[in-house]
């Protein structure tokens, strides 16, 4: 179990929780749901953004996510599974390659097939493509440099479970921190993901930090319940971060906004 250490963070979390519960009661009335949306965060050796992700999910949904270790083969009954960023298995072989073969990934695949939402951020995105849950591959940045800075993202598809808090074409700020975020897909795959609306985020003009084809920053699967993205929305969710542009992704996925 993780706890939020700073008292001010606790206050903020409870404020967020109130807002969330107000929205949730609206949502429950609207959908007849009788519960809060639940989430889980996957933990693997070498992942280091799990605490940021837990804090973001807790603050936005008002409910702490369940944590799931890599060896688990049965997952709790949740609405959203998040694979956070980091350097699982030291990025050995290829980024995300070894993590993608761990037992928990079979369980995540099964949940994804049942329609449970899955979000992979940064290394989580690399793990999802290595596991075959998302198309394409993530290669070494074209500059060969690790990039750690803020970029601007264009919301290409706002009609998804992860982006309905945004407007199509909206430009949002987001931090990035990676060495291997250069999205690659063969011509046929690229054409099909572009045509199907699977490209959810693009680096806004002039901010592509890694050489990704088509400036692609985030893609989803054909059913629209699995999203992978290199940028870190969990690091821009409140005033203390200098902005809250990333909040909408979690608010959308956890349905803490009116759809």
């Amino acid at each position: 179990m993780h706890s939020i250490s700073a008292p001010s963070a606790l206050n903020r979390a409870s404020a967020a929780s109130e807002t969330a519960s107000n929205c949730m009661s609206f949502k429950r009335r609207r959908q007849g749901l009788n519960r809060t949306m639940k989430s889980a965060v996957v933990q693997l050796p070498g992942l280091n953004r799990d605490r940021d992700m837990i804090a973001a999910l807790t603050k936005i949904s008002g409910k702490a996510p369940v944590t799931v270790w890599q060896t688990e083969t049965e997952l709790p009954d949740v609405d959203l599974i998040v694979i956070p960023g980091g350097f699982s298995y030291g990025d050995y072989l290829r980024c995300g390659a070894i993590a993608a073969r761990m037992p928990v990934m079979q369980a995540i695949k099964a949940k994804a097939e049942q329609g449970v939402k899955v979000l992979g951020v940064c290394n989580g995105f690399q793990i999802l493509v290595e596991a075959g849950l998302l198309p394409g591959a993530l290669m070494r940045n074209a500059s060969l440099k690790f990039v750690c800075r803020e970029v601007k993202l264009e919301v290409v598809n706002a009609d998804t479970d992860f982006t309905r808090a945004y407007a199509k074409g909206q430009i949002i700020r987001s931090p990035v921190a990676h060495h291997d975020g250069n999205y690659f897909a063969d011509a046929e795959t690229l054409k099909s993901i572009e045509g199907n609306g699977q490209v959810v985020f693009r680096y806004a003009e002039g901010t592509n930090p890694n050489g990704s084809m088509g400036d692609i920053a985030g893609v989803m699967n054909t059913s629209g319940n699995v999203l992978g993205m290199m940028p870190h929305p969990e690091n821009l969710i409140e005033a203390a971060h200098g902005g809250s542009d990333g909040r909408g992704i979690f608010a959308s996925a956890l349905e803490v906004i009116a759809a």
Partner: protein, 80 residues
């Protein structure tokens, strides 16, 4: 025991920025006339079996499942 070598290389058409950087560095060292450098990986494996056909089938499965990412990479298998 069988000793095998798996070589993994990037498919044609996949950008290899590391290969490009090495190409530039070789040029800087004065090696002229280098058309292209592509970087790959080599895995040396020892397999406890005498059955080469089985070893080859296993190695192929290992490449497909883990050693290569067939979205971007090709692989080849050879025996010592």
């Amino acid at each position: 025991m069988i000793k095998a070598r798996v070589t993994v290389t990037l498919k044609n058409g996949v950008l290899d920025p590391q290969g490009k950087a090495i190409e530039g560095a070789l040029g800087a060292l004065g090696f002229d006339g280098i058309g292209q450098v592509r970087q790959g990986k080599v895995f040396d494996l020892q397999i406890e079996t005498g059955d080469q056909a089985k070893a080859e089938a296993d190695l192929k499965a290992m490449c497909e499942k883990l050693l290569a990412n067939t979205v971007i990479e090709n692989y080849s298998i050879s025996f010592a």
